[in-house]
Symmetry: C2
Subunit: 144 residues, 2 copies
Amino acid sequence: MTESYPIAEVVARTGLTAHTLRYYERAGLIEPPAREWNGHRRYTEVDLGMITTLTKLRATGMPIEGMRRYAALCRQGPGNEAERRALLLEHREQVLSRLDQLQADLAVVDRKIEMYAPVTGSEADSGRMENLCSGVQSRQPFVA
Amino acid sequence: MTESYPIAEVVARTGLTAHTLRYYERAGLIEPPAREWNGHRRYTEVDLGMITTLTKLRATGMPIEGMRRYAALCRQGPGNEAERRALLLEHREQVLSRLDQLQADLAVVDRKIEMYAPVTGSEADSGRMENLCSGVQSRQPFVA
DNA sequence: CTTCATCTTCGAGCGCGCTCTAAGTCAACC
DNA sequence: GGTTGACTTAGAGCGCGCTCGAAGATGAAG
């Protein structure tokens, strides 16, 4: 009665490849799904949900080992919600600090970009006074 | 007259290892620096600046090949500022979209965390009505 | 019956970005 | 003189996360 899907469907829905799905299974990230009589995998909606969650963790940079731990907790069943939550919270903190660092580093790149900015006459026609360098101080675009 | 620094100093200032610095040099990311009579590298302040810039590009996820291209433009000298700027701008766009994606994915993780949240009695004592599940709909913490 | 498509397993291979090893040179210190 | 420590080189190795190849089973279509 409950719906189940062949691997091709999971590929279509998750964006993972069949190879990667099988790799995740080998790696202990996802439950070995049920099989058809011919050996073909049948993924349930629950499997799908787990896989989707895992891809989010992966997309936010969680290493395989962390995903494995989280998956193990889920497989254990009810009773360890605090642990699952702690794991996710710690990951979240790491992602947030990566985001902060990333934005800081990007800001430096932005300044570099400004240095290279064409000398746009902010009023009237451009091309006048080509090397005035008055807007931004410390313009030294020729070294890096 | 101009200051110059041994590799250890560059290590201390940039956080890169000596191995990595030499690797970057081999990879064409940084100019082979001047040498002392005994063969030891002497990095100039200009070198330092370039290296620092490159680390920012790296930190924001630019692959080695992109850094190599940027470095090559810088080494070419004046006249290609537009190209350098274009390269950095494209990188910037990529970083921004990665940031967006990252935040979106993190938001999903956040929802997961909320699902696992301990049932904090938002008023009075906690522990009452343990499985009411009224605050957040679609609470199904036992599957993933 | 042949071909094509979809799946299976097992295990090897790869791309990236370092990271490390081994062997050598030189200067300084005890 | 011997040892320590900072540097040099060329090249091998590694960790991660896939990614792919080869060979085989099964089912449907022509």
